[in-house]
Amino acid sequence: MSTLLSQEFMRRLDGISLLLQKSVAGHLRGQHRSKRTGIGMIFSDYRPYTAGDDVRNLDWATYMRLDRLVLRMFEEEADTPIYILIDNSQSMGNLEADKFETAKKFAAVLAYVGLLNHDRVSLISFSDGVVKEMPGRRGKNQMWRAMHFLDSLKNEGQTNLENTFRNFFGSGRTRGLVFVLSDFLIDQRLADSFRPVSQFGHEIFGVHIISPEEENPSFDGQVVLVDSETHEAINVNLTGSALETYRAEFKKHLTDTERFFKRSGWGYTSIRTNVDFEASVLTSLKKEGIFR
């Protein structure tokens, strides 16, 4: 088993279930409310009986009172597809390797909870497109496969969310819960990048992985900054005021990203690589209403 999650932490996750804002569109029986009616525990509606309906759902009490065959309908509890997209571009790795590790741990948590809830969990690594994919898996016994997938990921390429979404969701994916784990350091506008996925009605949750080194650079003076993805070099003289401006701009980047997700009606959380991961991930996801 992978070392991404400790046994103790996994035991703590055992009691957690996923909460979705929208009803799911899974085909298999699961633990989430579905728009489909069928076998379930939650009463949904009545409708006249037609030939071929399951007679087990006839409301015999109504028949006795009204002499009409009325069928009771229940919300069917279905599974939900969970798409966990992990940014494995160069910007997530290299010197700030913790970002990628954090992303993988976060993905492992989501995958574990999803599998526990009998959801179909898909793991997708992306950079400028889909790099690697673990097709949807169900059941706790598939956790080893998820861990193995996460362990096999490497940093490569440049981030291109729009291209990734087009590649992945363009082939007609069942509506589900989409987690996007990234540092969101992309050149395009987020609205443009998420347009391919937003039109399919997925419930999207952004997980912003933040490196404290990025947020508060430890270097100053004459520095040549080399972009890990494009290898573009910028010769800068980092004075105090320049660093202040950078911090403000980075903060704006965080705010803008969060504002985008919230405005779109999606979930958003951020996690810093230097905090206690286990406590932080549970707190933030519970706060956002994803975990219960």
Binding site: S91, V224, L225, T230, I234, E249
Partner: protein, 596 residues
């Protein structure tokens, strides 16, 4: 536009210095830390927002600096191009008038500086350029377009001339060329056309010079002699001047005077203790930078009493009466018989005057004979005057007839001469022939064909002048010829010219005159048939000494390359250093370009 030039070694040196500086700057650049970061996206935004305006300014400033650097390097290394179409032919005029001999503060003369600058200009041209080199003293007699190498040779042969009126032939000055240069101090040269590039080598120079020198006897006392010297301060600062007249170690006259700026002073010396002969006048001033006019030569001619013997058988000789009245003359009267019998050496006559008698033999001293008859010793052919009344033409250019009018002269009898070579005509009658002649030579003679009793000459007002002139011509040395240095014209009968130190001067003859050249002050003796002719060559003219009267007030120190080291290239060096500084500034901006 002033042209700037660099010789090849200096250009290479400058280039190496620039390359060295650039390499040094590269080696000394501050260490730059390479940091690999996730993304420079945020940094771009930061820098993009903060340097939007400043970066644009930096870009323009960087461009401006680059242009300045290029311009500086261009100006320091190359000659600036002349506006307009560039001609493959170039005219260069080098002013070699006397004022160019003034020294500059560096110790080199204006001419030396100009000459080197012209040489550098020639070197800067490509081989296909043809150059016409012209000097203002006409030392290059027939200027024409020629190769660079040929002009370098001509340039080397040029020297400072002594002509006070520099000449550039108008057909040369008006040549339709785009590149015409003149190197001058602007002192003696006149106006320069606008299409010339004037390169000024003028630099104010203190100068004290002698502008006049003459000797004269005091009227009434021929034993008292005075020297007149005019001195001029040609500079703008007061000068303490030591003035000296030297004939020998024992005969020296000295005086120290103070001259104000541009002041002229006439000094009069009692020169009685100086003897007949050459005199050297000189001035000395500690700050004097123009030696050309510091020395002048003069010559004191003999003005002693003259012992004259008059030989006549007449008792009322008009010539005797007049000669006895002349103050310089000590007169002794003799009859022809006495003249023939006595030993003339004992009487030591300077000259003899024969009135109506003709000696049997040629006199051993200069003599004047009135009413000469045909004689064996007279080396002229004579014939008698046939008419009684004749009209006489006078050779007024001869010194004997100087200031002599002889209006209404009539002659009633005598002989006429057939003039041969070497004989000078004094009086001539178109109808009869030559009535009086002068025979120059070591022992001069004046022969008059008529007797004073057969002419109205003694009764004319200018007869005393004629007699006096005649005695002077016979006895006195010819007057000193005072000329400026340069090509000196002397009479055509000059056979030899010696300098005072014995140097035999080369002579050439043209148009009936003889010529010799002296570029500096000196005293010369020209030997003629009439005896020695003293020629005093000096720079006695105020124009020589006025070496600061230039209309050009600027002097480009970069032209003065005669000093050692880099001082001569100071201007070019300044431009080079400026280029380096700008290069460093540009380097600084390059590294600060993408910064706050």
């Amino acid at each position: 536009m002033t042209s700037l030039f660099l010789s090849v070694p200096i250009f290479v040196l400058l280039l190496l210095a620039v390359v060295g500086a650039v390499v040094l700057l590269y080696l000394l650049r501050p260490p730059v830390l390479n940091r690999l970061i996730s993304s420079n996206l945020i940094w771009k935004r930061v820098l993009g927002s903060s340097r939007a305006i400043s970066e644009r300014w930096r870009w323009w400033l960087s461009l401006l600096l680059a242009l300045l650097i290029t311009t500086c390097l261009f100006f320091s290394a190359l000659r600036p191009s002349v506006d307009g179409e560039v001609d493959s032919r170039v005219l260069i005029i080098l002013d070699n008038s006397p004022s160019m001999g003034a020294l500059t503060q560096s110790g080199a003369s204006r001419y030396d500086i100009a000459k080197i600058a012209v040489s550098r200009l020639l070197d800067s041209f490509s081989k296909d350029v043809e150059v016409m080199l012209v000097d203002t003293q006409r030392q290059i007699t027939s200027p024409d377009f020629d190769s660079i190498a040929q002009n370098q040779i001509r340039l080397e042969e040029l020297t400072i001339g002594s002509n006070l009126e520099p000449i550039v032939p108008s057909h040369v000055a008006e040549l339709a060329l785009t590149r015409k240069f003149i190197y001058t101090d602007g002192v003696m040269i006149g106006g320069v056309p606008d299409d010339f590039t004037i390169v000024s080598v003028f630099q104010p120079a203190p100068n004290v010079g002698i502008t006049r020198l003459s000797f004269a006897s005091v009227p009434g006392d021929i034993n008292v002699r005075e020297a007149f010297i005019e001195i001029m301060n040609g500079g703008g600062s007061p000068q303490l001047v030591d003035l000296e007249l030297v004939q020998s170690e024992a005969r020296v006259l000295k005086r120290r005077i103070q001259l104000g700026p541009y002041e002229k002073s006439t000094q009069i010396f009692n020169a009685s203790k100086l003897l007949s002969g050459p005199v050297k006048a000189s001035v000395y001033s500690s700050e004097d930078l123009f030696k050309f006019d510091d020395v002048a030569y003069g010559y004191i001619t003999t003005k002693s009493p003259i012992k004259v013997g008059i030989v006549s058988d007449a008792t009322d000789s008009k010539a005797f009466t007049l000669l006895s009245l002349m103050p310089r003359i000590s007169l002794t009267a003799l009859t022809l018989a006495e003249y023939e019998e006595i030993d003339l050496n004992k009487l030591n006559f300077d000259t003899l005057v024969f009135d109506g008698v003709t000696p049997a033999n040629k006199p051993t001293v200069p003599s004047m004979i009135f009413g000469i008859t045909s004689s064996n010793w007279v080396n002229v052919k004579t014939s008698p005057i046939r008419s009684s009344q004749i009209i006489v033409d006078k050779n007024l250019t001869h010194p004997i007839l100087k200031n002599v009018a002889m209006t209404d002269l009539s002659v009633e009898g005598g002989v006429v001469f057939e003039v041969t070579e070497g004989v000078e005509t004094l009086l001539n009658s178109e109808a009869e022939g030559v009535l009086a002649i002068a025979i120059p030579g070591a022992i001069k003679n004046i022969l008059v064909g008529f007797d004073l009793k057969k002419t109205n000459l003694p009764y004319l007002l200018d007869f005393p002048i004629l007699l006096s002139n005649s005695i002077k011509w016979l006895v006195d040395e010819p007057p000193v010829m005072t000329v400026n240095s340069g090509v000196i014209q002397v009479p055509g009968d000059v056979t030899k010219v010696f300098r005072i130190d014995g140097t035999d001067m080369p002579l050439w003859f043209a148009n009936g005159n003889a010529y010799f050249y002296s570029g500096e002050a000196g005293l010369f003796t020209a030997f003629t048939r009439n005896g020695p002719l003293r020629v005093s060559v000096s720079q006695l003219d105020r124009r020589f000494s006025d070496i600061n009267g230039s209309q050009l007030k600027k002097f480009d120190p970069s032209l003065d390359s005669t000093n050692s080291g880099f001082r001569g290239y100071s201007f070019t060096l300044v431009i080079g250093i400026m280029a380096l500084l700008l290069l460093m500034l540009e380097w600084f901006f390059y590294h600060r370009r993408i910064t706050q």
